[in-house]
């Protein structure tokens, strides 16, 4: 299986309702809620592109774009 490398992490602030699900369930604590109560990727360098934030977002506000990287 090719390891995924993060290319871009996009959060649609119009759609995000600040529920905090992505923040809580990120295995690397990349995300947090900003002062407007919207999700932001505060520590993108730690992101392992597992996509759980994108997959669990009820607002479909997150898009995780990856560059597939072969292990060989």
């Amino acid at each position: 299986m090719a390891k995924q490398k993060l290319k871009e992490h996009r959060i649609n602030r119009e759609w995000c309702k600040g529920c905090g699900i992505c923040v809580e369930f990120c295995p690397k604590k990349v995300l947090e809620l900003d002062r407007q109560g919207k999700a932001v990727a505060a520590r993108l360098e730690d992101c392992i592109a597992c996509r759980m934030c994108e997959i669990r977002c009820p607002d479909l506000a997150i898009e995780v774009e990856t560059e597939a990287q072969s292990e060989e």
Partner: protein, 270 residues
């Protein structure tokens, strides 16, 4: 195709509350459709009334938003009249199993090819938080201010007893499993039932002091186990997740095609 291609983007952000599990169901559902490579024109989504049933407005398929409890009856007409369509029927727990209970039983009994997704948040959300047949004893709701004495029942057992040939359950915490199960449910030829435990933080969560969306999803993580897990024997209150029934039996529309053949043959012989 990207996920967003399956959405009617101009209607988002959706009407659901922050943290509502139904948004995760929408997310998993369109991922399932994308992974199956389905064409948008072959899908008809038929929903009822309630927060769950609003899902049909957000997807770019043929969508039919019907009346409370009757989605499966409308869907039966759609499917039977045009069996090549792929019919998906998302409903709430009250919509599918309270007012819609009768239609649920008979759609399952007929084993008609469609996928029923019961978005079970154990409450009537749209009308402000009344208890549903799935709320269970001891819960609080706007129409159960002194705690509920109504028993709930097991949706999967009901589906199984009624004759559904694919029966599965997942939760909004287990979003990847949900996508996988929905895929299998759609591909299955026959009546598929997917129950998804979905959080309503605004009413069920708040009234029953279960915290917010995050706490409720953690509850799904801690209180569910895979089908057949030995942990269930030790703690019967645990809820099983996974596929309960997956069998191959004659699907209703193809059986009716045989009736057409019989009728036409009989007419020839007359």
């Amino acid at each position: 195709m990207a996920i967003k291609d399956y959405l009617r983007e101009r209607f988002l952000p959706h009407i659901w509350c922050p943290g509502c599990g139904h948004g995760i169901v929408l997310n998993s559902l369109i991922r399932a459709v994308e992974q199956l490579g389905m064409s948008k024109n072959e899908i008809v989504m038929v929903s009822g009334i309630g927060c769950s049933s609003r899902i049909s407005g957000y997807v770019d398929f043929h969508t039919l938003h019907t009346i409370h409890g009757r989605a499966l009856a409308f869907a039966t007409g759609v499917k039977m009249s045009k069996p090549e369509l792929n019919v998906i029927v998302p409903m709430g727990d009250g919509d599918a199993l309270s007012i819609g209970g009768n239609h649920f039983i008979h759609a399952a009994r007929r084993n008609i090819g469609m996928t029923a997704i019961v978005m079970n948040n154990r409450i009537y959300g749209m009308t402000g938080g009344q208890y549903s047949p799935l709320s269970g004893t001891g819960t609080r709701a706007t129409t159960a201010p002194y705690l509920n004495v109504d028993q709930a029942f097991d949706v999967a057992e009901l589906a199984k007893a009624s004759g559904a040939t694919f029966v599965a359950r997942s939760t909004t915490y287990h979003a990847n499993q949900m996508t996988d199960i929905i895929k299998q449910a759609i591909v299955h030829e026959g009546f598929s039932v997917v129950e998804v435990l979905s959080q309503c933080p605004t009413y069920f969560g708040r009234k029953n002091k279960m915290g917010g969306a995050v706490e409720m999803m953690n509850w799904y993580k801690d209180h569910t186990v895979p089908v057949g897990s030995p942990k269930k024997k030790k703690d019967p209150t645990l809820i099983e997740r996974g596929i309960f029934v997956q069998k191959d039996l004659p699907e209703y529309c193809s059986e009716y095609d045989k009736i057409i053949q019989r009728a036409q043959k009989q007419k020839e012989n007359d």
